[in-house]
Assembly symmetry: D2
Homo-oligomer: 369 residues x 4
């Protein structure tokens, strides 16, 4: 059963317009260090909705999808081990980081902020698909991995649905919480119960927090938060006033606010509200603002007076993905990330998949080509 | 030459109205741990202007002044050593922290954020003067130090003008920069060339920074910044557009922005501008917002994308004052904090003194009763 | 049922000689801030054996016992709330820190190392009992709490056996691990399976470690380690050669050694062995050397070459005891600290109790007066 | 003036035997990313003496010399910019790191300890010279830079003698002090006045230390320490007893010991002595033990009781060399690293050069081929 000559992909050709299914030739010969992967499952991230709406500056046409698992179909010369040093073989099930840092620039080597490397381009976001090797996004039957890709062989006992269900949200949360620092017995508040919020909850629960509160909605997401071990949930559809929500959080934290607040919402207004939910001298992670949702009214005096540390965190490094895979494997019984995958669509139905995600009420749609 | 029965003070009785000189009885007998001090020099802080305008919630009448040096006139029973353990005697020249934390509360003992102790009340701000012991602010001939005060004997070779010239700005800067962390060879940008900015400049210069840039105005303050060792100054009266100022800072920092930006302005709009002057992965200290100047438009996406650490810092601890005094003494030839004292007034002319400070163009007015 | 006039205590009068039961008068009147407590249970710590043998420089006679729980019998004037701010009443069950720091000295206030305060004197160690108020140790029917004591009201649903079973080992471990820092998904090795080792295991398990290995003996202690969730145990009675033990640890940690090694043994030779069990760039906590067991052969080159961070930690602060009590209460089902209490003796049988502890094979003996 | 066909090198063929001058062919064609450099000056490091004595496990024959400056004679294809991104041209004067980490392994990418990368091999230490390209050490007329080398173009106003005078000691000190952390106004003790000690002094002086004490000898080195700004020096030839030296340090540090002690000696016994010179809760850097001088008697109880942080640091990263070059350039007037170069020899006299260094009393010998 050899690799076909062509394969199909769902292509974003115009913003706010339906994706189109296109057929492109598969590469005949692989560059050194590259790989060709048969897509098993591709996640749809909230960012994909923003991309589809044209809210980020990308060049079309693009095959969306930056949270993908596949099986190795071909290996280019020299690609013999995965990022962790394990041997790679045809047929191996793998995941990979959506972008690769250069390792040499000012940000990578001098300031050790590799996620800010200007040479990063993300699969499913930063590559046009109208030129070879075409297949540089997840919503397609195949995926090309360029030389230098950080690829991870998945353990046999870890279902694909866990990896795609966790998606880029989990590695984003791991990185952000690493920068924030959870101290043993901290009370932690997670703002937002979407994929990033659920991931942040799981990391906080296993980082020494004595109590993790999740504030968000709708109810179905909060139910998922409970399944992931939230000690308390606050439903913003029921507690509609920010002042009441701040009171609720303070009531659960001895009157002081949480030691650490992890913003996983992406709505600017959540930040001002969340800072008031943080105790004086606490930490506030701004994690949900991967997309630019514009400015909001914030009072710098609050940061001074409450003596806060406010932390930003961008994307993630390969070591976070390694940790994520090991974590998913070790905590399968505790954190049902596979249940995050609520809707499956084939490559012809990517528009439905995107629309489902855009409604923000499902956990996560995926493409199973 | 015994202590008189009464002494004079300049009293804030109504907001936005002239201060009134009042005569109050001096305490006959001191509580255990208290002291009576004859005022040598009292600094006028920018905060005093805000207090006078009624911009902070205080209860009148009040004797303003929280940056004071005096000589010990009487010592209450048990007050035998200063904060550092040095013996205290009548006639010693001393300074003290404006507030005292309780050492036992949630913020002091559990979270180690003593500057957020709810039991703190500041001399010159938080005490009414119409009841004994009356003299709890700097604009007066005498000052009463309550039991528990953190008092520091001043070294003989350190002029009073250095201590009052540095004022609360220096300890505020020491604390804020401690929280921010200057790494060896960092490029540092100081926003603001008032007392806090000048202090931050001095601390940054002696904390390992390879280059310190000061942005602010007017020209006289920038001239002071140069005298304090600023490697570059940017005059906001000449570079009037934020975009041009951001370009100027980036041009001085390899195109990236500074490793650490220290906001010492107090104008909310400076914060958004300053974050753009900070390199990705850098640190941004919000230090100038002791007073509440209201909200400003800030974009949380900037914190996420630039992967910033934003730090707030409130007031200071006694250990910062100990360090400040030693620093002033050791660096007299390098940092002419005494030259910050530009205008001297006696206790009858406190209104002129306040007005001079309110014009924001002098370095610092002081009261020499 | 009023307080009796006298009470009995077991007194260490001469090193290496049997303790003697003495009867002392109870205080008639309490100082302001003091309390009289009726002993419920007093733990016997390994340090007590060292004290009994004269291995630490203390002045006799002494009532041993620094891990005690009791009920408030009398409250001195002004002692109305516990350390956390909860009201204190006659009959309340309480624990307290064995020593109190002054809060004002160089170590407390300037360098923020309050456990190194020179004014600390520990109950059960640092007070002679042949003068009033006599009852300053745990092996007695009553315990006097001096003004300034850090006292904690115990929650009703937390059995005394949990608190004494955890003893000073738990707070010591909390402090030490705070200084060491466990990062999310760290592999952790605990050297030693005595009370400190078991406590360190519990803290590491709840601090984000992905895997905790315990090395020690005898088998009964390792069985306890398994009950507390050790992922792997290595029995030093079976793996008798250091080189083989180092190999065993490396085999469980990908060949590299653990990210963090927590020494809870107290035998100097364990330190050299343990450093080889730590990965390059890892952290090594020297926690078990509260007593001075003398020097050992260590190679500084190992610290340089392996680029280690080696951390010492001494005793604990009151905030660690607050956290410990909350932790014990919240994790009763996970960590059976009450099962650490293996042998109970009354005040007449303190010698047997000490001898049992001195055999090092039981978990923990206690006095129930 | 074209590159000759052969060039001369001084070769270590047998341990403890004189070096031999050999003539080897220069490479005809350069690999992609490689460069050929004409040696301007090569430093002799104390490690070279240990290598010559056979105290480190290396394979002979070797051209010693890992602190070298030269001019680019030829550039291999693709080597167009230096590590900082500056263009590289024939004739440029350059320095380079002695080893290159792989950037991909467990230590480089997962644990971010690139100096522990197992793929590192150092010029002048880890390469045999009896096979092409032969010229992989400093004691030679030419030096071959292998693909992947971290090369730095030197600023025109920075004399070669500064760069070689600072040598690997400076980057080692920069890395070690980064790991240790000097806080603003720390008192710092440097143990040792050799090249590493002098470098540590310069870094400490510019890192915020309020006072730097150097302990060591002989007098000529202490004189150099004074020239580099040491606030106090203690001559171990005059204060011969460790107890007296500990007293001397405590006398200069308020009785407590230094906040940070930087060991730059390499004698194991210095470590036990130095820990006693460190205040409780302070930091102790073990930096001088690049070579294995064997174990010494250390008491782990001291680490526990004094609550120390003991830090190891191995070699350095390229970013430290970038910082070093900028620092040398900016502080020429303050720190006369060029004066460290006390003896110059040509390539025929390498044995004299080594012998001079082995006498430990000169500052630094260099080879000027």
């Amino acid at each position: 059963m050899s690799t076909p000559r062509t394969a199909r992909a769902s292509v974003l050709e115009r913003f706010n317009a339906p994706l189109t299914v296109r057929e492109y030739p598969l590469p005949r010969e692989l560059e050194a260090g590259a790989a060709l992967v048969k897509t098993e499952m591709a996640g749809i991230c909230g960012t994909d909705v923003h991309l589809w709406k044209g809210e980020l500056p990308i060049t079309l046409p693009v095959i969306l999808g930056h949270e993908t698992v596949g099986r190795i179909e071909q290996l280019g010369p020299g690609l013999e081990i995965d990022w962790s040093g394990q041997p790679l073989r045809i047929g191996d099930r793998v995941a990979w980081t959506s972008a690769t840092s250069c390792g040499k620039c000012y940000f990578c080597a001098e300031k050790r902020q590799p996620t800010r490397c200007p040479h990063r381009r993300a699969y499913g976001i930063g590559y046009r698909c109208d030129q070879p090797p075409h297949f540089l996004g997840g919503y397609a039957e195949y995926h090309y991995l360029r030389p230098g890709v950080n690829v991870f062989r998945l353990p046999d006992d870890l279902d694909t649905a866990f990896v795609v269900g966790a998606g880029c949200a989990l590695v984003t949360a791991i990185h952000g919480i690493e920068r924030t620092g959870i101290e043993w017995q901290d009370t932690v508040l997670v703002q937002g119960a979407g994929p990033v919020g659920i991931s942040a909850l799981a990391i906080a629960k296993t980082s020494g927090a004595s109590k993790v509160i999740v504030i968000g909605g709708p109810a179905s997401r909060l139910e998922m938060a409970r399944r992931f071990g939230a000690d308390h949930v606050i439903d913003i559809d029921k507690v509609r006033e920010p002042a009441a929500r701040i009171d609720a959080v303070r009531g659960l934290t001895g009157g002081y606010g949480a030691d650490a607040v992890l913003e996983c919402v992406g709505q600017p207004a959540a930040v001002a509200e969340g800072m008031e939910m943080c105790r004086d001298g606490g930490r506030y992670l701004v994690l949900g603002h991967y997309c630019d949702a514009g400015p909001t009214a914030l009072n710098p005096h609050v940061i001074t007076r409450k003596q806060l540390r406010v932390i930003g965190s961008w994307s993630s490094e390969p070591r976070h993905m390694k940790a994520a895979i090991e974590f998913l494997q070790a905590t399968r019984d505790l954190f049902p990330f596979d249940q995050m995958v609520s809707h499956r669509f084939n490559v012809d139905r990517c528009n439905e998949a995107l629309a489902t995600t855009a409604a923000w009420n499902c956990a996560k749609s995926v493409i199973v080509p």
